[in-house]
Amino acid sequence: MKEKLVLIGNGMAGMRTLEELLKLEPDMYEITVFGAEPYPNYNRILLSPVLAGEKTIDDIILNSREWYSDNNIELHTGSAVCEINRVKHTVKTEAGDEFKYDRLLIATGSNPFIIPVPGHDLDGVIGFRDIADVDAMIQSSKDHKKAIVIGGGLLGLEAANGLMIQGMDVTVVHLLDSLMERQLDAPASDLLKTSLIEKGLNFLMEAQTTEIIGDQRVEKVKFADGSELDADLVVMAVGILPNIELAKKAGLHCERGLVVSDTMQSFDPRIYAVGECVQHRGNTYGLVAPLFEQAKVCANHLATLGYGRYEGSVTSTKLKVTGIDLFSAGNFSGDEDTEDIIFQDPKAGIYKRLVLRDNKLEGAVLYGDTVDGAWFFQLMREATDISDIRQQLLFGQAHLGNSGHGGGNVAMAMSDNAQVCDCNGITKGEIVVAITSKGLFTLDDVKAHTKAAASCGSCAGLVEQLLESTLGGDYTTPECKPVCKCTDFTHDQVRAAIRDHKLTSMQMVFDYMEWRNPDGCHVCRPALNYYLISSWPEDAVDDPQSRFINERAHGNIQKDGTFSVIPRIWGGKTTPDELRAIADAAEKFDAGEVHITGGQRINLLGIKKEKLPEMWDFLGDRGLVSGHAYGKALRTVKTCVGSTWCRFGTQDSTQMGIDLERLSWGSWMPHKFKMAVSGCPRNCAEATIKDFGVVAIESGWELHIGGNGGVKVRATDMLCRVTTAEEVEEYAAAFIQVYREEARYLERTAPWLGRVGLSYVKERILDDEAGRKALHKRFLVSQEIAQNDPWKARAKGEYAHEFTPLKSLGV
């Protein structure tokens, strides 16, 4: 007999908790939900656009009634719970019906604070909280003219904007001298006020409401200084109060909110609580993002997994007023031991303020240009040390290098039919519609439902902006993203467990870390396989079934299912014999196309899978080996002709390239790894956009790291200068090994370096000589196992089943 779970509060936090719970334990409980409102769960955040006439109620429903029944959840709408009996474990509805619970979840949200001035109960005086309020406002806008919004915060301004769009003449009354003082500092708030006035709103600042006058319906509002304003609608948006009467009556310990522990439990262990009604470590929250984090943790405990902990949240805000571009996060006002970085261009209406504490970003206010809001927010949550990027920080994540989406960076400024994702051809309009109609909150949701940002990912920043401007906040769950849906552990945690507990097989990882799916999935298995073989080269066995087809078949699969064959051309230097062999192979195995690659090699395309081993045998006999053009592995080492021929050449760059490729070929990496060696600073081999680049100089060699062409161009950082070829190899090997040991799977050196910082890598490789030599040594050890030509092995019949059909029916 299943336990009974009862949810009081059919709103965003409570329902999110149930969704998270169902993901973990689809049928552990018999679930009943009570909601005071007559609707299924809807996206409260989007009430503002509904008021502004940009969306309808149907647009913002998150869980349809079908959803509840499909998930066997008993839903009671328009039915408020008025009593909790903690002895009998029952709840009583206003209709008088009683229901039993084994576990109870309270998510009653909050109520708008209505200032108790005389006349506050007249008709036409309302809050801004639910669909009923919005209906009332839209109704008034039809047959009344003058509206007063009391409160110049997020909510008040969105209400005022909506009413104005509905055709009312709106005055915002604010107690203090600056708007949104809880999110903005004075300069930003002035810019905001100016542009809202331009839009047509009126403001009455530093005004304290003392009385609301009228007999049936409101007619006037009176202020402390005796002045009065006409009004036939008054919206009170001065703040919210956690809705805790019910909990108090039940004798649960409450302060400002219903007090919960890090496991989202109240003082009664059977009773959990999430959302705006709770108080956690002294804080109450009024934004969705932290509530969703609470929901995740609460679900984890309802599912009796028991390891989730909620430790509080940093929040970010965005005003959802079309045409106004504003972002605020964390502690933006700072104190005596924080520093500010400020950019101000009043004429262009741009203001940016970053608050730093010991080289970590602690708060941000952006006005007019919020492109980098998501990035700053991430830096804050991950507490990244920004000393290395301090100079550029304010100018953001220089998206300049991005290919695709025409370099467009300001999502708000794009038209609805502008293409955001150029890989899959998804427009801004399609994404926004998906966000609202499908109730999406995170980048991953959007990827899954629209495929935007799901391919090369260069438009992820834009999509995050669209999420923020549509939902008014950042919903991507913080730094510690789990590897995949099979686990709640992060890449770093998994990697550490594999190292510290000597896990040497995938099954050991699954067992030790309690993987949810017995076989894992296509996301975690390739990652785990890499972590295993890179951590325990001598003990872990490579698992072909956990590799992407390209790495399993040692060629790049093409759209038509044929494969491409790219032999290694050491350091880009070849011979007539090699070329002849390649030409012969191209004819013998009828390559559909012969293509000089961007990596100084030759690509034979359109080869049938069955033919591969035979072709490799043919090439192998002529001294050619796999170029690993398909692998998360060492790819190419490009070189220029260098001092052997070039009149400017200072060193033999070609030989250096060949040596580096001999050193590192065959090594598996977190992502593909490319090198280049140029013979002089003219840099014809483009060494400064490679993962490891070498530029020859008169006095020796200059070593560069973390470069990237492709989706997002990043020029290398200069690591150091060395004099001998031996040093170049030692430093290269050491760098590769740190990257192999510490970067997350599918994280290329550029983003990895961005994350850990150049100083860190310098510490490991320059300052710590013993460490460097140890890294070098570890790399050579793993190379002893890794350096055997996969083509040769398969040509000799290894994994033959991979390349032969099981049976052929008359073909």
Binding site: A448, H449, K451, A454, S455, N517, P518, D519, G520, C521, H522, R525, P526, P544, Q545, S546, F548, I549, N550, R552, A553, I557, K559, G561, H801, P805, L806, K807, S808, L809, G810, V811
Partner: protein, 120 residues
């Protein structure tokens, strides 16, 4: 193990269960389009048309887990037992009955589900 299949099926022996790698797949070649034969970790065997409903990717090359295969081209996930794309993706690919007798794997060419394969 697979859904009941009518007697009229003429079963083709396609090979032994060991011939198919665990969590892997082998292909049966056909002029009318190849069929991918999958084997999962519970030694269940499934047959799907080797063509992804998205853009025709070769499913046999995908990564297999549980009763799912992920297409190598753009990561659509398909149910091995029913040929249906896993939400939010929408589409399906034809499935075929499989019969296991001892070591031997038999395939029937009479489509099992009611999916109309998009022919590009």
């Amino acid at each position: 193990m697979n859904a009941v299949v009518s007697e009229s099926n003429d079963w083709l022996e396609v090979g032994k269960i060991e011939d198919i790698p665990k969590l892997g797949s082998r292909v049966v070649k056909r002029t009318e389009g190849d069929i991918a034969i999958f084997r999962n970790s519970d030694n269940e065997v499934f047959a799907l048309l080797n063509r992804c409903p998205h853009r025709g990717g070769p499913l046999a090359e995908g990564i297999v887990y549980g009763k799912t295969v992920t297409c190598p081209m753009h990561n659509w996930c398909l149910g091995l037992h029913n040929g249906e794309a896993v939400a939010p993706d929408e589409g399906c690919t034809p499935t075929y009955p499989i019969k296991i007798e001892g070591e031997k794997v038999f395939l029937s060419l009479q489509q099992q589900n009611d999916c109309e394969a998009e022919t590009e």
